[in-house]
Symmetry: C2
Subunit: 234 residues, 2 copies
Amino acid sequence: MDMTEDFNLIMEDFLPLRDVVFNTLRRAILTGTLKPGERLMEVHLANKLGVSRTPIREAIRKLELEGLVVMVPRKGAEVAKISEKSLKDVLEVRRALDELIAKLACSRITREQLSELREAADEFEKATKTEDTSTIARADIAFHDIIMEATGNLRLKQLVNNLAEQMYRYRFVYLKDESKHSMLVKEHSRIYDAIKNNDTEAAMEAARIHIDNQEKAIIAHIRMERAGEDKDSI
Amino acid sequence: MDMTEDFNLIMEDFLPLRDVVFNTLRRAILTGTLKPGERLMEVHLANKLGVSRTPIREAIRKLELEGLVVMVPRKGAEVAKISEKSLKDVLEVRRALDELIAKLACSRITREQLSELREAADEFEKATKTEDTSTIARADIAFHDIIMEATGNLRLKQLVNNLAEQMYRYRFVYLKDESKHSMLVKEHSRIYDAIKNNDTEAAMEAARIHIDNQEKAIIAHIRMERAGEDKDSI
DNA sequence: TAATTGCACATTGTATACAAAAACGGAGTA
DNA sequence: TACTCCGTTTTTGTATACAATGTGCAATTA
């Protein structure tokens, strides 16, 4: 192999190698270091990461079930391609789940969580002033994590995390556009207000709008990206 | 080991052994042959199924990500315990997804699918007359599969399948009770009518009621089961 | 008797070896 | 040139070997 990919083992001490490899490969896929359609060859990865084939294979089994890689029989694993259709599918589900999250949060949020949420919303507004996209992204995640936590539903959390990963590489898209920042701040405020007032309908509506806007930005971005690239896979 | 579990390799020809093992173990867990908390010891399973440890381990990695087994570090895998809380979490999510399915099916179902759905509803009614629970279960699954297919959302299908598995062993509970059969038939009819008339609100409502009734039956069953058993795990 | 140490064994974690199938390439032929 | 056949190589699929860690039991000691 001529190319030297720029990823290395993510050392999380005392985790089994398979999990270390799993996290490493997952991050590489989600950040785009491993590109859609790229083959994952076991010996190659094993040499690159300095482990044997066994942990590599076990990590690939998990990535397979997570949908990040697809297996071609007797050929091995390759990074899953993300079509516009599959992204729309994901967003369709996320919309429903985000509405559920908003609804549950309304009835279950505690006083402390509510004040944390207020702070997180303020933090987000402050972050949009810094113009640093990754700071903004962190603040956005923090805000939504609090709402997620308030639902008290672990399974829901797990599912949404998994779905969120599928669109990870597009997260920055809708945060980079400064003209949208004030709108995002307003949307967060609406969500906060609705939850505070225990107004289920308003909370769900606000969550829906929030996702809709993300969807528009992401789809637009993908179309652009596709126009500039080669063919049918994004 | 003194006990002889009654499961054998499910032979699906030309699938890699790891997938055969995966299906075998999954079915064993879902049907209760492998009980919650039971340890999955690699050599034991390997001998029992007549393969080496490698496919066993790879199958376990997938079951792990699916949530059917949990790993205890340096101790190995054991069948996940299902608490009432986690089941409620699952059902809460399923309710939202089933409403989404109903909504999408309303707007996207084709003429053929609609007539298939009519037939499936009739088949279900017929099945309830046979008194054979597994026949009824099959008919129920067939009915819901058609609606699922009509949504055209693969990701949604995948998620719901996974969630459904978590409650698989309780599926029979709400189908065994004959007194509920006429109600189930009515519920299916309501769902069919709503979808046929493209009445989104009614379809979602009907789906919600359908799940609510399942939830009640399952929770009641679990409480009974728990009362008759030992301790805190179901 | 109760506690503790140490050893043997059981079990997982990781690496390697072997088998089989598919991909590749080159020689030969029309 | 285009095409096919055949062997070589690469790569996955499966099995086994080795390492490391935990667990239980017995023997020893206070």
